[in-house]
Symmetry: C2
Subunit: 297 residues, 2 copies
DNA sequence: CTGAAAGCGCTTACAG
DNA sequence: CTGAAAGCGCTTACAG
């Protein structure tokens, strides 16, 4: 093509706003520049930041994301997986709401790479998760650094892997003078825990490390009702850094952020690498949490 | 093809798990069985149920959904729109977090149909939104039916269309003895409003209709701190039916649900109809809210 | 270097 | 009714 013709083609293409058809392109290249994000987290508290991270990381590479919410329904999961494969996704990210539960679909032996993010993957898969132990350490060390010496841990059900991780890290630093108080993920349990602590004899804690922000909120409310000052008398740290919850407590809540957006970003880049045939180390990769300091500690 | 050959082909197809390549199919049919959902609701409180509805309605039709979170960034919005068009989406659903704000991208004159759901569309578009006036009526009528006579309305900023809609409906039923209390969407404002009401002279209300669940939560907490019984002394109704908030108030909150999942379902079916060339009435279509009765009223 | 052909995996229209 | 060809919109490999 002569230089002039080339220029003219380019100009016309621009004028009529020509954009290549990605379907046709994908047919040849065996790449659809599309990935699927599978999740059973309907409420979206955890998946949403993960998704935002995935999308953010991949949009620069021209990759779009199919969102597939499958509840806990295996049949629905299968339908979505089939639909994604039919549409020739370059890869799949599986995400969820619990590190120790897997999605109700079998993602092994798929013709495309799979990355697990914030959900349990099979042994030899690529799995990304937050480092809950490190996050808990951050929280407790911060309380220690503030001079707190009697730190209590009020948390969720012991059946959760992340609860055991966090409790383990708490123990490492705080010792085992105080029993870890396992309960449920609710404000109500936070209230109840405070009632229990203050009804028993002996010295009262000067800090409470809570298993999530909802519990922390219950704890803070209960302390205020008793006229106990936060953070003067008792410092509080939560977990999740659930913005809308943490910002609304009085005082605003210091909390551990699991860095789910970064986790999503990593998941996106990793599935892309696999799709392009680049080597990726298999196994569980833990990403660091960070502490968001507000006024409760 | 002979009957025997046909059977054999079918059998082998089943055995090797043959599934037609949707890309190739789309190339011919001019249908990708793919739509794009554009939203600027990062937090996802409103978009998430909409999305769940869209996905639920379309999965039966083999349609997958690209989720594009564009924040309020016009450049990012354009990138996502271009990516969707390149991938030959059959249609686009625009969604957001406010009925009276439009997304920072121009979606007119696109080669594919667009439906606006819970965000403002241009005049001649297809726009779906909740019927906030009807929802507010539901709430106030319920309070009246419970025998409440002095109903106060504590709500968000008057600059919000939905605030004015809800306040208008409240006025229709409750009259204008009590001034509507405009404020912000926070628990703090709920607290403050209660302080204001109880500091002024005259009869106290026996019911408070709140503009959203966060305000309602603040109101309920403030009333409890004053020793005022909910619902005995003052009945409370919120708006949004934000499950995790409404269920955690003490007592659990009666609230207006905007039916966003149904709205999403409608949006999905509507964009599908447009994509298939079926006629759809243009203009704003309001979908009904419903009241979720818990213990606060 | 330029230009035409082949082919990705399907579906549809047509010839036999 | 059956079977082969054409074509969707691209990209790549090849002949001139």
């Amino acid at each position: 093509m002569g230089e002039k013709t080339r220029e003219r083609v380019k100009r016309v293409a621009r004028e009529i706003g020509f954009r290549p058809n990605a379907l046709a392109r994908g047919l040849l290249s065996k790449r659809s520049f599309t990935i699927g994000l599978l999740t059973n987290d309907t409420y979206g508290r955890f998946t949403l930041p993960v998704m935002a991270g995935v999308s953010e990381a991949l949009v620069d590479h021209g990759v779009s994301v199919f969102l597939c919410a499958i509840e806990d329904d295996p049949a629905l999961g299968q339908i979505h997986v089939d639909a994604m494969l039919d549409k020739q996704v370059d890869g799949i990210i599986a995400s969820g709401k619990r590190l120790d539960r897997s999605l109700p679909v079998d993602l092994s032996n798929l013709p495309v790479p799979v990355v697990y993010a914030f959900t349990q993957g099979p042994p030899d898969s690529v799995t990304l998760r937050s480092d809950d132990a490190q996050g808990a350490r951050l929280a407790v060390e911060w309380l220690v650094k503030l001079g707190r010496r009697r730190i209590v841990h009020v948390t969720g059900p012991e059946s959760f892997f992340s609860v055991r991780e966090r409790a383990g890290a708490y123990r490492e630093i705080a010792g085992d003078e105080e029993p870890v108080m396992y309960g449920v993920w609710s404000e109500g349990w936070g209230h109840e825990a405070v009632a229990k602590i203050w009804s028993r004899s002996g010295k009262k804690p000067d800090a409470i490390f809570c298993g999530n922000d909802q519990i922390a909120r219950g704890v803070i409310d209960a302390l205020r009702e008793r006229g106990i000052g936060v953070p003067e008398d008792v410092a509080i740290v939560g977990f999740d850094n659930w913005e809308i919850m943490a910002a609304q407590t009085r005082p605003p809540l210091t909390s551990v952020d699991m860095g789910l957006k970064a986790l999503g970003r990593e998941a996106g880049l990793t599935v892309l690498a696999l799709a392009e045939g680049r080597p990726v180390e298999t196994g569980v990769r833990k990403l660091p949490c960070h502490l968001v300091v507000r006024q409760s500690a």
